[in-house]
């Protein structure tokens, strides 16, 4: 944005008599980068982006936990350089021939640097070996299609074979419509794999981040031994607008928030993003068999 534009509205109002004479003047070249400031969508507080990023993308005023990318999540969660990615080269097909789906995939791959909406792999956290999966809302709202389902299933299977704890950072709009009923089946597939992991007595921590909804809430995200949520994030089965449409009234603001789920008994704890690494490390340590 050009600094001069900021005042153009006012100027034109004052100078309306002088017609277009001003516009002929060359504009100043002062450019403000787009991402200099962050404005919180919840409380409208404005902070410098640097400061905001240093705080783990949490609004200093209202504690809003902004959505972060899978890579950013790994950076603040696991030991530096410990991530060994699984199935790096898996991409989806277009099983139901959905119009525009392959193009959208190509576009998003370039934009996000991801091949689909989840990263899975092996890592350490305070030196302890874990399997980790991190979903990314920037890739088709983290929706679960074949690739997400398969990668998560394989991650669970790897953890089962190697008797490792698994941490899943969930964020998803639900099952991916563009792959039809096959996406729906990923719910059963991931749940089956999570169940097998549970049967060998290993720990599964599910961390629900903004937003965890639909087919992901109704599958592996909800079956963790321990379920952690970030403050104020959206967690639910049906979309807010769908419910409002069904019951024809406005829902209270805290409906489907992490706090709402805690109150109703569906999450174990709400943990600030800056304390999640510490919390997970402690919980894993508690489960180490002697």
């Amino acid at each position: 944005m050009v600094l001069e534009d900021l005042f153009s509205v006012v100027k034109t109002r004052f100078n309306s008599d002088q017609k277009n004479e001003d516009k002929k003047k060359p504009k100043a070249k002062t450019k403000i980068p787009n991402d200099l400031m962050f404005k919180c969508p919840r409380c409208s507080n404005v902070v410098f982006m640097d400061e905001f990023t240093n705080m783990g993308k949490v609004c200093p005023n209202c504690n809003y936990h902004a959505r972060i990318t899978a890579r950013e999540r790994l950076d603040i969660t696991i030991d530096k350089g410990s991530f060994k990615e699984f199935d790096k080269n898996m991409i989806s097909k277009n099983p139901i021939g959905f119009d525009g789906y392959p193009e959208k995939q190509i576009d998003l791959r370039a934009k996000t640097g991801l091949n689909d909406a989840v990263l899975t792999g092996e890592a350490t956290i305070r030196g302890m070996r874990i399997v980790i999966g991190v979903m990314d809302s920037h890739f088709m709202m983290g929706s679960m299609g074949s690739v997400v389902g398969e990668k998560i299933t394989r991650a669970f299977e790897f953890a089962t074979e190697n008797k490792l704890p698994i941490i899943m950072f969930c964020c998803s709009g639900g099952a991916r419509m563009q792959e039809g009923t096959i996406s729906l089946m990923q719910m059963a597939k991931t749940c089956g794999a999570a169940q097998k992991h549970s049967e060998v007595g290993c720990l599964y921590i599910s961390v629900m981040t903004d937003p965890t909804t639909g087919g992901v809430t109704a599958s592996f995200a909800s079956v963790g031994d321990i379920i952690i949520a970030e403050p104020k994030v959206l967690i639910g089965f049906a979309g807010r607008r769908v419910i409002e449409g069904t019951i024809k009234q406005r829902l209270p603001d805290n409906f489907q928030s992490a706090e709402f789920l805690l109150e109703h008994g569906f999450v174990d704890m709400i943990v600030d993003r800056r304390k999640i690494r510490r919390t997970i490390a402690h919980l894993i340590k508690l489960h180490i068999k002697k």
């Binding site: 097909k93 419509m177 039809g180 009923t181 059963a188 597939k189 749940c191 639910g236 049906a238």
Partner: protein, 268 residues
């Protein structure tokens, strides 16, 4: 065999005379006793569960039920279960496991209910729990989709050893209406969306999701309930025979593998 398009089938399954679970249960099972409640919260009218004989085999029946008229629909919430419905189904499935009864699931729902109470009582958790528990249930599970197989709401009763669909039934990740409103911001274009989503039994057979297609009476099940029920009965009878002879490990491994295989992706 069936040349109808997806949206023509949608018309058939939405026909007001389409038989419901209440019509089929007396035709398929003898000495049926309905069981109520999830033992935690309440009894969901959208899910019927009970025990009875299929031929001479005692079975547990779990089903979502749509009403045939407004009164019935009020009671059954138009076939859209709350969490307690899924929990009732799970309770009865566990009971079936205990007494070594096979489980027959009959599904006809547009989806799990979307409402305040459903969210408060954990709709997502209830379905997720069913998916994990049905995957390891130590008794055969046979599912038949009678009409609408609506997303997670149907899947909650469809983790099974064999899945059959009536020839006009659909099984979808999202209602065609929902798909249209997301795709084109216009819910009235559901007929178009219906074709896009590939939700007929032929499509799903191709994807390895549907194992059998059950023939309906000519023109649709409403034209001859008895005949359609007979076809369903033939399928269940065969499916029970195939699955009851399996050892427990074999049964559970095959069930896991059935779902494990589903997915279309490529690796380079």
């Amino acid at each position: 065999m069936n040349n109808l398009s997806a949206c023509q089938r949608l018309d058939i399954i939405r026909n007001k005379n389409r038989p419901t679970v209440r019509d089929y249960i007396p035709l398929l099972f003898n000495d049926f006793f309905e069981m109520h409640g999830d033992r935690y919260y309440g009894d969901d009218g959208a899910v019927i569960g009970g025990i009875g004989y299929f031929g001479d085999i005692p079975v547990t029946v779990l089903s979502t039920v749509k009403g045939r008229n407004l009164d019935e629909n009020k009671q059954s919430n138009f076939g859209m279960p709350h969490p307690e419905g899924y929990r009732k189904a799970l309770r009865l499935a566990k009971q079936a496991e205990k007494f070594h009864r096979p489980v027959i699931c009959l599904v006809d729902t547009s989806g799990a209910f979307c409402g305040i109470e459903a969210e408060e009582r954990g709709q997502g958790e209830a379905i997720a729990k069913n998916l994990t528990e049905f995957m390891i249930l130590k008794t055969p599970i046979i599912t038949v989709i009678l009409g609408e197989g609506g997303s997670g709401g149907a899947l909650g009763l469809a983790v099974c050893d064999e899945l059959a669909m009536l020839e006009n039934a659909i099984y979808s990740v999202i209602s065609p209406r929902g798909c249209a409103s997301i795709l084109w911001k216009d819910a009235s274009r559901e007929r178009e969306a219906c074709e896009v989503l590939r939700i007929t039994s032929e499509d799903l057979t191709e994807f390895g999701i549907c194992d059998y297609t059950i023939e309906e009476a000519i023109g649709g099940a409403h034209n001859d309930v008895e005949q359609t029920a007979e076809h369903i009965s033939e399928f269940i009878s065969g499916a029970l025979e195939r699955n009851l002879q399996k050892g427990l490990d074999e049964l559970l491994n095959q069930r896991y593998t059935k779902f494990r295989k589903m997915g279309e992706f490529q690796e380079f």
